[in-house]
Subunit: 205 residues, 2 copies
Amino acid sequence: MKPDQSQAAIYQLLSYFSAFIPLSRVEKDLLVSKVQWKRFRKHQFVLQEGDVCRQINFVISGCLRTYKIDEQGNIHILQFAIENSWINDLGSFHSFVPSTLNIDALEDTEVLQISYENLISLYTEAPKFDKVFRVLIENAYIGLQKRLLLNISSTAEERFRSFSETYPNLTNRLSQVQIAAYLGVSPEFLSRLRSKAAKSSSPKP
Amino acid sequence: MKPDQSQAAIYQLLSYFSAFIPLSRVEKDLLVSKVQWKRFRKHQFVLQEGDVCRQINFVISGCLRTYKIDEQGNIHILQFAIENSWINDLGSFHSFVPSTLNIDALEDTEVLQISYENLISLYTEAPKFDKVFRVLIENAYIGLQKRLLLNISSTAEERFRSFSETYPNLTNRLSQVQIAAYLGVSPEFLSRLRSKAAKSSSPKP
DNA sequence: CGCGACGTTGATTTGCCTCAACGATTGTGG
DNA sequence: CCACAATCGTTGAGGCAAATCAACGTCGCG
């Protein structure tokens, strides 16, 4: 591990875990020994389509996104990850198959990574992490289910409202192109939705 | 536990687990002591909107569905569960909040249930089940992610083709109304898709 | 038997996309 | 530090995918 920045990053990771489950000194040390600090520049790839996803990523600062490119070349965003979020391609990670997804940086970003081998040994040496990651992924599953439901049952307008309310910070931080690709609408249509929403919320005299 | 049918059900559950992780005699006995056999008639509710989801369900035979009713009264299906599938509302189950989802039976159905208390004690007494359920939910997450991607990036026609290929058995077993509510299209439109697909695959002379 | 779900088909409407053009902003290399 | 390119957000016109509404035959079930 590098000193300096990585020390602060590790402190952040431990705080994150402590917030929802207490870890012993031994467990903390073990965890720290398994993570690796890394930095990505804006536009840099964290994972490229065709490669196997070999580590899970915990974002310390900045912003990453997971997306897929379809046959027509359109981008569809599965997930954004800002500070204190996890991001990776679980399917590829667990089955060692080449990923069909891309992960890249929307801002300069710091992450802590855990490789597959390290994660396995983490589970083996401290089974409590089975529980920790079970809870983490349960929450991710619940969130994903909500999003799917919103997608199959709502109009683009409702999805956008819901997104703005759920992630008010992301709404300013991301460009509309990114948000449109996440909501599954064209940037042009999102623009119309926004102007419509602005009009109805503050009717100019 | 009841004898007879429930014995066969328990055997089925143990086979299911053994297929992807070995369990010791002790772990098997513990698991068995935590489950309860139950039967639901066609149309019967397993979970109703407004109630807290208090157990997870493993389907032995038959078919259940999770769905949501929107403001206009339309039904949107999140999941079907046939033999050897799990079904429940995880969000409600873990947070003790009233569910916004319904689960009911599309056929007469047998399940094995594990209550919240029993699941917690199962985790406590045999931490290996943390790992077991971590893996289960990881797989569920991966599947859900695929479905979401399909929904935001594909036309109804592609989604239907994908569904037919992924679940050929369900395609016959379920009514088109159910499949339409799962795919997020109107039953009428699904009907048109089907007739179009039939035409193109076997062009009548 | 009769009633209500189901599947089908037609006509019309609508939510959203595509293509295109335009300023405003960003960023990049000379 | 400026010039030029690239990206972004906006707006308009036209088109397509899918919803809606409606009518009709069929089937299973009480």
